[in-house]
Homo-oligomer: 204 residues x 2
Amino acid sequence: MTGIIEAIKGRTSANNFDATHQMTHDEIKELVALANETPTSFNMQNFGLIAVVSPQKKAELKAAAFGQPKVGDAAVTFVVVGKMKGNETLPALIKPMLDAGAIDQAAFDGWIAKCNGMYAGKPQAQREEAIRSGGLVAMTLMYAAHAKGLVSGAMIGFMPDAVSKVVGLTDDEFPVMLIAIGRPAAGNWPRKVRRAIDEVVKFA
Amino acid sequence: MTGIIEAIKGRTSANNFDATHQMTHDEIKELVALANETPTSFNMQNFGLIAVVSPQKKAELKAAAFGQPKVGDAAVTFVVVGKMKGNETLPALIKPMLDAGAIDQAAFDGWIAKCNGMYAGKPQAQREEAIRSGGLVAMTLMYAAHAKGLVSGAMIGFMPDAVSKVVGLTDDEFPVMLIAIGRPAAGNWPRKVRRAIDEVVKFA
């Protein structure tokens, strides 16, 4: 078992991956099941994951990511997808809690009303919330990979429209980040330097 | 030791906190030290953390967060701060790697040039990157809290300008999220329902 603190301190961003390593759909779904536990605003779950594993799609995704080798080499490169209009899909997502009696009708209605108040008709708020959720999900995914003895490399260097086309996103979806996951090859960098704690935190 | 997978599966969003629990600055810095290991684009470290602990500031922050009780009750409520213009502060942050010989001058210059290419003069890209970084940092912070036997509750329901004023943010900073951390009180919800895995992931 890998401890959380060990994972937080031990995780580094990998650039070089073992191109011979492949992962089964079940192995990938284990990572997705963990990422799926990530919290989201109002539990909107306003994200999706595309697991790019086929040589053809990896090549296309790599081209959309300025030729970064890890997109092609890693066993899987996830496209972390942000979803607009999360407020519109919320009712169906939390209906099981109403049906199970975990919440009553008033709580259900209030939950949806508050969510609509924050996001309905507000595309910038929707987009920024999807980026925030994507960041939370991506971080969980990287720790999940670490727990499985794998390494990860997050990428923001890609052409969003090209990535959307490669993986077939809808008009209400956009790529928040790419996360390559697999076994490491030689030559990865050690941990990069960080600020001193007193430069990071202020007390109030 | 708490395992990563246990933390990912076991973490829930707390709403009720033990208002008698206080944390020392050193205890809070242990959480910050872990959050500080979070990866950021180009290692810009384009975030800050304000640890709100004083009764006065908690009351002001609570008012800026629509009166949510957890802001006042939790031992600490962090304001996760996003920083614009991260590209401008990058050179000073990675200079230690140049000085230590971890990278050469060409790598140093190229690193900065690529970062400027993505963010210089692009306020939307800067803002979205700060939200993405804030999401990554917030997730690490929540797992760090779990590792310390504490609970956490993330909030997006607040008035950004009011929060900025309460904690004295600069024009280049904005609040990405609030994270209350402390000991739980009774009445917190169990894990909320999630989508089935096959609704979350697609293979390509």
